[in-house]
Symmetry: C2
Subunit: 118 residues, 2 copies
DNA sequence: ACGAGATACCTCGCAGCGAGAGGTATGCGG
DNA sequence: CCGCATACCTCTCGCTGCGAGGTATCTCGT
Protein backbone atom coordinates (compact mmCIF):
# COMPACT_ATOMS: atom_id res chain seq x y z
CA UNK A 1 0.00 0.00 0.00
CA UNK A 2 2.37 2.65 1.25
CA UNK A 3 5.22 1.35 -0.83
CA UNK A 4 4.73 -0.37 -4.14
CA UNK A 5 7.11 -3.18 -3.37
CA UNK A 6 8.47 -4.58 -0.16
CA UNK A 7 11.05 -7.09 -1.12
CA UNK A 8 12.52 -7.12 -4.56
CA UNK A 9 16.14 -6.35 -5.14
CA UNK A 10 17.66 -9.27 -6.92
CA UNK A 11 18.30 -10.75 -10.28
CA UNK A 12 19.20 -14.18 -11.40
CA UNK A 13 19.58 -15.01 -7.74
CA UNK A 14 16.67 -17.46 -7.60
CA UNK A 15 18.26 -19.50 -10.36
CA UNK A 16 21.60 -19.47 -8.59
CA UNK A 17 20.09 -20.66 -5.33
CA UNK A 18 18.08 -23.41 -6.99
CA UNK A 19 21.19 -24.64 -8.75
CA UNK A 20 23.20 -24.58 -5.56
CA UNK A 21 20.59 -26.34 -3.44
CA UNK A 22 20.09 -29.05 -6.03
CA UNK A 23 23.84 -29.54 -6.22
CA UNK A 24 23.69 -30.48 -2.58
CA UNK A 25 20.82 -32.92 -2.96
CA UNK A 26 17.79 -33.59 -5.16
CA UNK A 27 14.69 -31.67 -4.11
CA UNK A 28 11.18 -30.88 -5.31
CA UNK A 29 9.76 -27.45 -6.04
CA UNK A 30 7.75 -26.83 -2.93
CA UNK A 31 10.68 -27.93 -0.81
CA UNK A 32 12.97 -25.45 -2.54
CA UNK A 33 10.58 -22.60 -1.86
CA UNK A 34 10.36 -23.47 1.84
CA UNK A 35 14.05 -24.11 2.21
CA UNK A 36 15.02 -20.77 0.73
CA UNK A 37 12.49 -18.97 2.88
CA UNK A 38 13.45 -20.72 6.10
CA UNK A 39 17.20 -20.68 5.63
CA UNK A 40 17.19 -16.99 4.83
CA UNK A 41 14.87 -16.09 7.71
CA UNK A 42 12.34 -14.68 5.25
CA UNK A 43 14.88 -12.28 3.78
CA UNK A 44 14.65 -14.24 0.53
CA UNK A 45 11.10 -15.34 -0.11
CA UNK A 46 10.50 -16.31 -3.71
CA UNK A 47 6.97 -17.38 -4.48
CA UNK A 48 6.15 -20.61 -6.23
CA UNK A 49 5.23 -18.54 -9.26
CA UNK A 50 8.87 -17.60 -9.39
CA UNK A 51 10.45 -20.98 -8.72
CA UNK A 52 8.41 -23.33 -10.91
CA UNK A 53 8.98 -21.47 -14.17
CA UNK A 54 12.72 -21.44 -13.50
CA UNK A 55 12.66 -25.15 -12.76
CA UNK A 56 10.88 -25.83 -16.06
CA UNK A 57 13.24 -23.61 -17.98
CA UNK A 58 16.36 -25.12 -16.47
CA UNK A 59 15.08 -28.59 -17.24
CA UNK A 60 14.30 -27.71 -20.84
CA UNK A 61 17.83 -26.36 -21.09
CA UNK A 62 19.23 -29.63 -19.85
CA UNK A 63 20.52 -28.30 -16.56
CA UNK A 64 18.08 -30.35 -14.50
CA UNK A 65 16.53 -33.78 -14.72
CA UNK A 66 13.24 -34.64 -13.03
CA UNK A 67 11.64 -37.77 -11.72
CA UNK A 68 8.08 -38.17 -10.40
CA UNK A 69 7.66 -39.52 -6.93
CA UNK A 70 4.54 -40.74 -5.18
CA UNK A 71 4.67 -40.03 -1.44
CA UNK A 72 1.54 -40.58 0.62
CA UNK A 73 -0.71 -40.13 -2.38
CA UNK A 74 1.06 -36.86 -3.07
CA UNK A 75 2.76 -36.23 -6.35
CA UNK A 76 6.22 -34.77 -6.22
CA UNK A 77 8.53 -33.81 -9.02
CA UNK A 78 12.05 -34.26 -7.75
CA UNK A 79 14.81 -32.45 -9.59
CA UNK A 80 18.49 -33.21 -9.65
CA UNK A 81 21.42 -31.39 -11.20
CA UNK A 82 22.91 -32.64 -14.45
CA UNK A 83 26.46 -32.13 -15.60
CA UNK A 84 25.38 -29.11 -17.60
CA UNK A 85 23.66 -27.79 -14.50
CA UNK A 86 26.86 -28.11 -12.53
CA UNK A 87 28.60 -26.04 -15.17
CA UNK A 88 25.87 -23.44 -15.07
CA UNK A 89 26.16 -23.27 -11.30
CA UNK A 90 29.85 -22.55 -11.56
CA UNK A 91 29.47 -19.62 -13.92
CA UNK A 92 26.50 -18.24 -11.99
CA UNK A 93 28.42 -18.44 -8.73
CA UNK A 94 31.43 -16.74 -10.25
CA UNK A 95 29.22 -13.99 -11.60
CA UNK A 96 27.54 -13.43 -8.27
CA UNK A 97 30.84 -13.33 -6.43
CA UNK A 98 32.25 -10.88 -8.92
CA UNK A 99 29.29 -8.61 -8.44
CA UNK A 100 29.25 -8.70 -4.66
CA UNK A 101 32.99 -8.11 -4.63
CA UNK A 102 32.62 -5.11 -6.93
CA UNK A 103 29.75 -3.69 -4.92
CA UNK A 104 31.71 -4.27 -1.74
CA UNK A 105 34.65 -2.40 -3.21
CA UNK A 106 32.44 0.56 -4.12
CA UNK A 107 30.63 0.43 -0.81
CA UNK A 108 33.57 0.06 1.47
CA UNK A 109 35.93 2.06 -0.72
CA UNK A 110 38.31 4.09 1.42
CA UNK A 111 38.24 7.84 1.69
CA UNK A 112 40.16 8.24 -1.55
CA UNK A 113 38.09 9.90 -4.22
CA UNK A 114 37.04 8.44 -7.53
CA UNK A 115 39.63 7.06 -9.94
CA UNK A 116 38.01 9.24 -12.58
CA UNK A 117 39.89 12.48 -13.17
CA UNK A 118 41.99 11.87 -10.12
CA UNK B 1 24.93 -14.18 -29.73
CA UNK B 2 25.07 -17.30 -27.65
CA UNK B 3 23.47 -15.63 -24.69
CA UNK B 4 20.95 -12.87 -24.94
CA UNK B 5 22.50 -10.77 -22.24
CA UNK B 6 26.01 -10.43 -20.97
CA UNK B 7 25.80 -8.31 -17.89
CA UNK B 8 22.58 -7.81 -16.05
CA UNK B 9 22.02 -9.48 -12.73
CA UNK B 10 21.21 -6.82 -10.20
CA UNK B 11 18.45 -4.77 -8.72
CA UNK B 12 18.37 -1.58 -6.77
CA UNK B 13 22.13 -1.77 -6.76
CA UNK B 14 22.65 1.32 -8.94
CA UNK B 15 20.70 3.43 -6.49
CA UNK B 16 22.67 2.05 -3.58
CA UNK B 17 25.99 2.81 -5.24
CA UNK B 18 24.96 6.32 -6.22
CA UNK B 19 23.88 7.02 -2.67
CA UNK B 20 27.09 5.65 -1.27
CA UNK B 21 29.38 7.52 -3.65
CA UNK B 22 27.58 10.79 -3.06
CA UNK B 23 27.85 10.26 0.68
CA UNK B 24 31.59 10.32 0.19
CA UNK B 25 31.62 13.48 -1.87
CA UNK B 26 29.43 15.47 -4.29
CA UNK B 27 29.65 14.29 -7.88
CA UNK B 28 27.97 14.80 -11.23
CA UNK B 29 26.22 12.17 -13.32
CA UNK B 30 28.84 11.42 -15.89
CA UNK B 31 31.44 11.14 -13.15
CA UNK B 32 29.31 8.60 -11.31
CA UNK B 33 28.99 6.46 -14.41
CA UNK B 34 32.74 6.45 -14.98
CA UNK B 35 33.61 5.91 -11.34
CA UNK B 36 31.37 2.88 -11.02
CA UNK B 37 32.72 1.42 -14.22
CA UNK B 38 36.37 2.00 -13.39
CA UNK B 39 36.25 1.03 -9.73
CA UNK B 40 34.46 -2.21 -10.53
CA UNK B 41 36.77 -3.09 -13.41
CA UNK B 42 33.81 -3.11 -15.79
CA UNK B 43 31.97 -5.71 -13.73
CA UNK B 44 29.40 -3.05 -12.96
CA UNK B 45 28.76 -0.88 -15.99
CA UNK B 46 25.51 1.05 -15.74
CA UNK B 47 24.77 3.22 -18.72
CA UNK B 48 23.86 6.86 -18.44
CA UNK B 49 20.33 5.88 -19.35
CA UNK B 50 20.28 4.02 -16.08
CA UNK B 51 21.97 6.58 -13.84
CA UNK B 52 20.31 9.84 -14.87
CA UNK B 53 16.73 8.74 -14.26
CA UNK B 54 17.71 7.51 -10.80
CA UNK B 55 19.40 10.82 -10.06
CA UNK B 56 16.27 12.70 -11.08
CA UNK B 57 14.02 10.44 -9.07
CA UNK B 58 16.17 10.62 -5.95
CA UNK B 59 16.25 14.39 -6.19
CA UNK B 60 12.48 14.64 -6.60
CA UNK B 61 12.20 12.47 -3.51
CA UNK B 62 14.39 14.82 -1.55
CA UNK B 63 17.31 12.45 -1.17
CA UNK B 64 19.61 14.55 -3.32
CA UNK B 65 20.19 18.23 -3.93
CA UNK B 66 21.75 19.55 -7.13
CA UNK B 67 23.71 22.61 -8.09
CA UNK B 68 24.74 23.67 -11.58
CA UNK B 69 28.39 24.22 -12.21
CA UNK B 70 30.12 25.83 -15.18
CA UNK B 71 33.51 24.24 -15.84
CA UNK B 72 35.37 25.18 -19.01
CA UNK B 73 32.16 26.12 -20.76
CA UNK B 74 30.79 22.74 -19.81
CA UNK B 75 27.63 22.41 -17.80
CA UNK B 76 27.69 20.05 -14.89
CA UNK B 77 24.95 19.15 -12.47
CA UNK B 78 26.61 18.30 -9.20
CA UNK B 79 24.60 16.27 -6.71
CA UNK B 80 25.08 15.96 -2.99
CA UNK B 81 23.36 13.83 -0.40
CA UNK B 82 20.72 15.35 1.85
CA UNK B 83 19.79 14.15 5.30
CA UNK B 84 16.96 12.10 3.83
CA UNK B 85 19.43 10.63 1.38
CA UNK B 86 21.68 9.56 4.20
CA UNK B 87 18.74 7.80 5.78
CA UNK B 88 17.91 6.11 2.52
CA UNK B 89 21.50 4.98 2.15
CA UNK B 90 21.37 3.33 5.54
CA UNK B 91 18.28 1.27 4.82
CA UNK B 92 19.49 0.37 1.33
CA UNK B 93 22.84 -0.75 2.71
CA UNK B 94 21.19 -2.81 5.43
CA UNK B 95 18.95 -4.43 2.83
CA UNK B 96 21.86 -5.27 0.57
CA UNK B 97 23.88 -6.72 3.40
CA UNK B 98 20.93 -8.78 4.56
CA UNK B 99 20.50 -10.19 1.08
CA UNK B 100 24.15 -11.01 0.47
CA UNK B 101 24.35 -12.60 3.91
CA UNK B 102 21.28 -14.72 3.19
CA UNK B 103 22.55 -15.74 -0.22
CA UNK B 104 25.93 -16.52 1.29
CA UNK B 105 24.27 -18.72 3.89
CA UNK B 106 22.37 -20.61 1.20
CA UNK B 107 25.41 -20.81 -1.03
CA UNK B 108 27.96 -21.86 1.52
CA UNK B 109 25.54 -23.78 3.69
CA UNK B 110 27.19 -26.86 5.17
CA UNK B 111 26.39 -30.40 4.17
CA UNK B 112 23.34 -30.45 6.40
CA UNK B 113 20.14 -30.79 4.46
CA UNK B 114 17.28 -28.34 4.31
CA UNK B 115 15.62 -27.13 7.50
CA UNK B 116 12.35 -28.08 5.85
CA UNK B 117 11.03 -31.44 6.96
CA UNK B 118 14.23 -32.15 8.79
C1' DA C 1 -18.17 -35.34 9.77
C1' DC C 2 -16.51 -31.13 8.15
C1' DG C 3 -13.79 -27.31 7.20
C1' DA C 4 -9.36 -25.12 7.43
C1' DG C 5 -4.79 -25.33 6.45
C1' DA C 6 -0.66 -27.54 4.84
C1' DT C 7 1.26 -29.93 0.99
C1' DA C 8 2.13 -29.98 -3.91
C1' DC C 9 1.72 -28.76 -8.50
C1' DC C 10 0.72 -25.26 -12.17
C1' DT C 11 -0.18 -20.57 -15.19
C1' DC C 12 -1.09 -15.93 -16.23
C1' DG C 13 -0.58 -10.75 -16.26
C1' DC C 14 1.45 -6.78 -14.07
C1' DA C 15 4.93 -3.65 -12.97
C1' DG C 16 9.63 -2.11 -12.10
C1' DC C 17 14.04 -1.66 -13.51
C1' DG C 18 18.13 -1.79 -16.21
C1' DA C 19 19.89 -1.92 -21.20
C1' DG C 20 20.64 0.32 -25.23
C1' DA C 21 19.80 3.31 -28.75
C1' DG C 22 19.18 7.83 -29.92
C1' DG C 23 19.52 12.92 -29.42
C1' DT C 24 21.99 17.71 -28.30
C1' DA C 25 25.98 20.53 -27.45
C1' DT C 26 30.85 21.96 -26.45
C1' DG C 27 35.90 21.63 -26.11
C1' DC C 28 40.23 19.59 -27.55
C1' DG C 29 43.66 16.94 -30.11
C1' DG C 30 45.29 15.17 -34.52
C1' DC D 1 37.94 20.10 -39.52
C1' DC D 2 36.60 15.78 -38.15
C1' DG D 3 36.17 12.76 -34.46
C1' DC D 4 36.37 11.70 -29.73
C1' DA D 5 35.67 12.64 -24.93
C1' DT D 6 32.83 15.22 -21.98
C1' DA D 7 28.23 16.09 -20.35
C1' DC D 8 23.49 16.16 -20.30
C1' DC D 9 18.93 14.04 -21.48
C1' DT D 10 14.74 10.69 -22.96
C1' DC D 11 12.42 6.82 -24.82
C1' DT D 12 11.32 2.10 -25.61
C1' DC D 13 12.16 -2.80 -25.03
C1' DG D 14 12.58 -7.01 -22.59
C1' DC D 15 13.43 -9.65 -18.66
C1' DT D 16 12.21 -11.24 -14.29
C1' DG D 17 10.15 -11.64 -9.97
C1' DC D 18 5.50 -10.85 -7.66
C1' DG D 19 0.91 -11.83 -6.66
C1' DA D 20 -3.24 -13.72 -7.70
C1' DG D 21 -5.64 -17.48 -9.18
C1' DG D 22 -6.51 -22.47 -9.97
C1' DT D 23 -6.60 -27.81 -8.83
C1' DA D 24 -6.16 -31.73 -5.84
C1' DT D 25 -5.06 -34.52 -1.70
C1' DC D 26 -4.03 -35.37 3.10
C1' DT D 27 -4.24 -34.14 8.09
C1' DC D 28 -5.71 -32.11 12.20
C1' DG D 29 -8.83 -29.83 15.25
C1' DT D 30 -13.51 -29.38 16.60
Amino acid sequence: MTNRKDNDFLNGVPELLILRLLARQPMYGYELVQTIRLTSDDVLAFGEGCIYPILHRLESEGCLASRREEVAGRNRVVYRLTQAGRKRLETATARWEGITAAVGRLLGGGSDGSPFMA
